[in-house]
Amino acid sequence: MTDITELGIAAIRDGVASGEFTAVEVAEAFNSNVAAASALNAFIVETPEIALSMAKSVDDDRAAGKDLGKMAGVPIGMKDLFCTEGTQTTAASNILGGFVPQYESTVSANLWKAGAGMLGKLNLDQFAMGSSNETSAFGNVISPWRISGGNNAPLAPGGSSGGSSTAVSARLCPAATGTDTGGSIRQPAAFTGITGIKPTYGRCSRWGVVAFASSLDQAGPMAHDVRDCAIMLESMAGFDPKDSTSLDLPVPDWEAALNSDLKGKKVGVPREYRMDGTDQDILDSWDQGIAWLKDAGADIVDISLPHTKYALPAYYIIAPAEASSNLSRYDGVRYGMRELPEGANLQDMYAATRSEGFGPEVKRRIMIGTYVLSAGFYDAYYTQAQKVRTLISQDFKAAFQQCDVILAPTTPTASFPLGDKDKDPLSMYLNDVFAVPASMAGLPAMSVPCGLNKDGLPLGLQIIGNMFDEQGVLNAGLAIEERAGFTARPNKWW
């Protein structure tokens, strides 16, 4: 019999539906992979019993002849940013230590409704702030990948969805949820040789997702391939009246409409993305991607996104500003930890709790956000950044007059060793330089693995689509996936 843990969403769903194996067998197989992989530190909480009981109810439904959901029998990892009723949710921060939500996030509820099960809560950068999963209060996540040729230095799985990327890449789960504020799905997907898509802002409800920067936060799937992403995104997305920015649009049947024939499609290649400091391997993979999309029938168009270089600095004003506001809710009164020094008054308690509970990167961003929103600086920083954001969005609008999708690298480098960049916040921020512009414009964007660099580490290509055009993104991703034939996997050492 095939090893079930090698299978992705579509194969598991079909195998459970046809009776080739049961959902309980699937859950057991992944539970044992999870239990054997503590060296990767991908999970904050493991929930094998929940996975089994959810699988059992799928098997019962099948035996009773009931209709099965789109992800029936597929156990997944849940980024620990989604509130899960009765299961600890921390955003990888001590300030939410021991927090047990009394309700379920809309996205996770949608997934359970579709028949998915939960293997556990996945580690991440604290409050999703980071690009290497080194800011978690629960320790670093280690990438399953290693540089070829005997160097066993632990590598970054990317961030903030580093637990998700590691877990899928190491086959601890067939798929996982991610969230993307400025690249947190795409960058870790690229670092670990998996596929991930951030849909149009508003496709997936933010209700019950621990907030970082609300105008940017968007959930999405991380999985083996494009088809699996399409299936899982269908299960996650949908209108939710409890999120004021939720899109009131029907969820398309993205899987059924997958089509890698790009005849008549125009693919834009933004000249401003040819930046100094980008690895030659990455530039080569981009050229290769252009050739693949040509081969799929697309016309290649040179486009310009003139404000590209300003997207990252604007992001590092807007995201911290929103974070400083969102994270003001952690006050030691309503949930999470409380630090109450002897004789402290209420104000002292707030300050002591937040000092003790937040990690250094979270504090840094709250401080930046507080500063740029403070009297006298608001217009110079925050208003200016929001104007630049308008210009970035207009750049994309103009580009999509000339093309259907945009092709770019996902990251300027492959994965780097843990500890390489964590002392210098700015050099860490720069790793998201290609991912942030699409986030700033709220556009759907995906990373698809395209090959290995000279060190044997995975590289990703990014496809950015027009608003609401996840289908165009998925189709171009599929065209790349079919031609890249990416089958490389990390050698198991954990």
Partner: protein, 100 residues
């Protein structure tokens, strides 16, 4: 624009984050490094450009005027709301004395 130790201490106080002198000292170059880098936004000519308010065009909805239309966000869940409180007494959140 750059910050000094005094400004850092003031920001920390506004953000309700307790920091000591050494931490404030360490944060000065860190914050200045980031603020110096975002300064480049000043180069962009934004005359006549409206600041972004909604990234995807969307209308703010009004909900139907029905009590507890969605039980998840309706009332009557006091115990659930208090379930994670570090200190809850008699159905309330308890905090240190506020009035001297």
């Amino acid at each position: 624009m750059s910050v000094d130790k005094e400004t850092v201490t003031k920001i920390a106080s506004l953000a309700r984050i307790a920091i000591n002198d050494d931490e404030a000292e360490a944060l000065v170059p860190e914050l200045n490094n980031i603020l110096g880098w975002v300064e480049q936004l000043g180069e962009v000519d934004c005359s006549g450009v409206e600041p972004m308010t909604a990234v995807i065009p969307n209308e703010l909805r009004m909900r139907d005027d029905i009590i507890n239309a969605d039980p998840l966000t309706g009332g009557g869940v006091r115990d659930k709301i208090l379930a994670n409180a570090p200190d809850a007494e008699a159905g309330f959140f308890a905090v240190p004395k506020v009035i001297e």
